[in-house]
């Protein structure tokens, strides 16, 4: 039996307000509260809530035959708790069914994996604790921010005790190999790697409503027929995407909800696939071979690399300035500073500074609250300057001094 593994990513950043240099030293509130609350509510109403309701009803209908997995960033959970607790409740209802796996990530949806091992560990543990507290299950699977993966990161993740990790089925890593097998990390043999099948994933998340695409419209039956074309010796098809695909990137009017509602029946009745969560897939299959990823990759853009966040001097400068604080931050106890430290690490801030979209990438523009990467950088640096000043002035504990 082959497995079909659905995993959805949920994340909302704390977007920064317009923070001028003359606010520095005077005003330490960095966030656009109105915008953040408005967007979280809008997306919950358009996407998360109706989709959770749909998935719950599908589980009620098909029982253990239908399963999905979620990764929800810590700061998204924070915002839901504060503004729209019904989103938390609906995820809790899903958790109770036993058909839903919650995956660990960094609490701040950060890029700490690219900088500092200690900070990475702190945030993963923080996120695991949050998931346990809210949903009563201890995550066994890990996915890094934007599916960023490398041998070094795999090593850190393995050491933290995870059995499974998700990443992109990037062509430049796989070569002739298929993403439809379970692999293992080259360095951490105990860590099994599940790879995203980007063709079938993007058929839903990007191409679903493309009317100029030859395959449009995508129906559940058509999707099942594509699954039937997967060679019989393959083990699993992993469909990973943003949860906002449903209702936000693809509006309800495109029929995306109806498509998903019909999908379990089509898969169960017409294909040799069974639905499974990432840890089930990982347990069921032996890894076929190790994968070597010396340079970090991700699920973003054509290149599947990390240049969307670390691709220019602006991003590098902001990133290095931020992470130069890591050691000092260990001595900080002020909860406000600790909270801002997490929020400022969110990868989105660096994404907004990306200059690649000058030439391509409608996707980038879609997610960007700034008029230009330069504006994004200046705003972030103003905030960071104020933050660094606060960190320097804050009382420190001497305990971690080496």
């Amino acid at each position: 039996m082959k497995t079909l593994c659905f995993y959805f990513q949920i994340h909302q950043p704390y977007r920064l307000r317009t923070y001028r240099f003359f606010d520095m030293g005077i005003d330490h509130h960095y966030y656009d509260d109105y915008q953040n609350q408005y967007l979280a509510k809008r997306i919950a109403e358009k996407s998360y809530l109706p989709m959770n309701k749909l998935i719950l009803s599908l589980i009620e209908q098909y029982g253990k035959k239908f399963k999905v997995a979620f990764s929800i960033s810590g700061i998204a959970l924070d915002q839901f708790e504060k503004h729209i607790p019904e989103v938390i409740e609906s995820f809790q209802a899903l958790a109770k069914t036993g058909c839903v796996e919650f995956i660990a990530e960094t609490y701040g949806h950060s890029l700490a994996s690219l900088s500092n091992t200690d900070e990475f560990e702190i945030q993963v543990k923080q996120h695991v604790a949050k998931i346990e507290a809210l949903f009563g299950q201890k995550p066994k699977t890990f996915r890094n921010t934007e599916l960023i993966y490398s041998d070094d990161i795999a090593e850190m993740v393995g050491k933290l005790g995870f059995k499974t990790m998700l990443t992109e089925g990037a062509k430049h890593i796989l070569g002739w190999r298929s993403p439809n097998y379970v692999y293992k990390s080259a360095g951490e043999e105990s860590l099994q790697i599940l790879l995203r099948n980007y063709n079938l994933s993007d058929d839903i998340s990007f191409r679903f409503s493309k009317q100029d695409w030859v395959e449009w419209p995508v129906t559940a039956d058509k999707f099942a027929s594509w699954l039937n074309q997967v060679p019989s010796e393959h083990q699993t098809v992993n469909i990973f995407m943003d949860y906002e695909t449903f209702g936000e990137h693809q509006w309800a009017e495109t029929g995306i909800f109806n498509f998903f509602a019909a999908l379990p029946k089509a898969v169960i009745e017409q294909t040799p696939f069974t639905f499974a969560t990432p840890s089930e897939v990982s347990k069921k299959f032996q890894a076929v071979s190790p994968i070597h990823v010396p340079w970090p990759m991700s699920w973003a853009d054509e290149e599947r690399d990390i240049t969307a966040w670390r691709g220019n001097e602006l991003q590098d400068d902001a990133f290095e300035k931020l992470y130069s604080l890591c050691e000092t931050m260990k001595e900080i106890t002020d909860p406000h500073i600790l909270r801002d430290w997490l929020f400022l690490q969110t990868s989105d801030h660096f994404y907004y500074m990306c200059t690649k979209w000058f030439s391509d990438g409608e996707v980038h523009k879609y997610f960007n609250p700034y008029g230009s990467p330069y504006d994004a950088y200046i705003n972030y640096m103003n905030v960071l300057s104020d933050f660094i000043d606060r960190v320097n002035k804050a009382p420190k504990t001497k305990t971690t001094k080496k």
Binding site: F21, D317, F358, D375, I378, M381
Partner: protein, 427 residues
């Protein structure tokens, strides 16, 4: 393809951007294989004719007995000049104009019987009379020369363009380098507005130097959108081989405004932004390189804010002085309220100076590596300047990518777009 062009000035005898733009464009046209006959009201003989042939309207003999002229002669009426009519006017002429205006000393001589007109080619008080006469001569030129298409630059030459079209039946393209709305805000001179509008209505195609200008002529002049095309200006490559480096004496940062100190250029927003920066960073100096009618107001505001010790007024700069000013500057700011194109930020970027420009400018449409703000958003303007002064990664990137970007804005690309417009007309 042969183009008969009507301009008002040509390098080296220029007062502002119009002549420079015409020069660059015609050079690009030469590279695109087009021949240009360029008519100016007054030629001095030392114009750069490497790409084009200059025709001096003052040398053209006209025969008044020819029937075609009678209609123009009847149209010649004296109109008093009472406003700032000039596109891209330089400081000297501006003051001269103001002075002439205030003296109220002009006379209209009926010189119709003469066979040659001596044009001043300036922007004086006889401007409207000269425009009419220029049209007369244009009609003669249109008879004497062989060409495929007529192209007229800015409203001063539109009557000439219309006359040439009437005589020759060749298609007319008019080029909007600036509109009356850019020059005068909402208090427009209706005479000029009408010449602009009639010129564009009579033309087969209208070329605007930016989408910003294109929108103005569509919305405010009421020109049908389907005949208005945008051809962005470009900039001549920096031909100075050995770039001098200017060392700063004071070790302080310098932020520069360079241009006319007039309503259109938004100098007062520059002062307000400077004030905000100086409250946080005393280590910055601000330079006003230029002159104009807003100068007294600007100086008074600077004094009122008690930041006079941080401000420097250099007056109007020319040639090498401009290069030196760019060489000393850390940031160049163009806070224009309304700028049809705005070539000076390109010159700054070419000299490795990062720029902050207003979104109400045509040039902002072609630049990515410039910081863009609304002219009225003083906070954003101050913030962008502050960013360029304090975050080296940003400054470096704007300088490097900006230079690359500007070096790729070529006049021959503009000329190519123009060629397509011509070709479509001649089909």
């Amino acid at each position: 393809m042969k183009v008969l062009m009507f301009g008002w000035e040509f390098p080296p005898h220029i007062t502002g951007g119009l002549g420079t733009a015409c020069f660059g464009l015609t050079k690009g046209m030469k590279k695109q294989g087009m021949d240009v006959i360029f008519v100016v009201p007054k030629a001095y003989g030392d114009e750069n004719q490497e790409s084009i042939r200059i025709v001096n309207a003052s040398d053209v003999e006209i025969d008044l007995r020819t029937k075609e002229y009678s209609s123009f002669i009847n149209q010649i009426t004296y109109i008093e000049v009472n406003s700032k009519l000039i596109p891209y006017v330089g400081e000297d002429d501006y003051y001269r104009l103001i002075n002439e205006e205030s003296s109220g000393n002009f006379s209209y001589e009926k010189e119709i019987s003469k066979r040659k007109y001596e044009f001043s080619g300036q922007y004086g008080t006889n401007l409207l009379l000269e425009i009419e006469r220029y049209a007369l001569v244009a009609a003669q030129i249109a008879q004497d020369y062989d060409f495929d298409i007529i192209h007229a630059h800015d409203w001063l030459t539109y009557k000439a363009g219309k006359a040439a079209k009437m005589v020759s039946n060749k298609p007319l393209v008019v080029h909007m380098h600036a509109t009356e709305f850019d020059r005068s805000g909402q208090n427009i001179n209706p005479l000029v507005f009408n010449i602009e509008r009639e010129g564009m209505m009579a033309a087969d195609r209208v070329v605007a130097v930016s989408n910003y200008t294109r929108n103005i002529v569509i919305e405010k002049h009421g020109i049908p959108a389907d005949k208005v095309f945008t051809v962005h200006n470009a900039v001549e490559p920096n031909d100075k081989k050995d770039e001098k480096t200017y060392t700063k004496v004071l070790g302080e940062k310098i932020v520069t405004f360079l241009g006319r100190v007039t309503f259109q250029k938004g100098p007062e927003y520059f002062v307000e932004a400077a004030y905000k920066i100086l409250q946080r960073d005393k280590n910055v100096r601000f330079v006003f390189a230029g002159d104009g009618d807003m100068m007294p107001k600007v100086i008074r505001r600077v004094a009122q804010l008690r930041i006079g010790d941080r401000f420097h007024f250099t007056g109007f700069l020319r040639g090498e002085e401009v290069d030196k000013m760019f060489g000393l500057s850390d940031v160049y700011v163009m806070p224009s309220v309304s700028e049809p194109f705005g070539i000076s930020p390109l010159e700054a970027m070419r000299s490795n100076v990062p720029v902050v420009i207003s979104k109400q400018s045509g040039v902002s449409e072609v630049l990515q590596h410039a910081l863009k703000v609304d002219f009225w958003d003083v906070d954003a303007m101050a913030n962008s300047i502050y960013g360029l002064l304090h975050y080296p990664a940003l400054t470096q990137m704007c300088i490097e990518l900006g230079k690359e970007e500007v070096d790729n804005l070529l006049w021959e690309n503009a000329a190519y777009k123009l060629k397509l417009i011509y070709q479509e007309l001649l089909k």
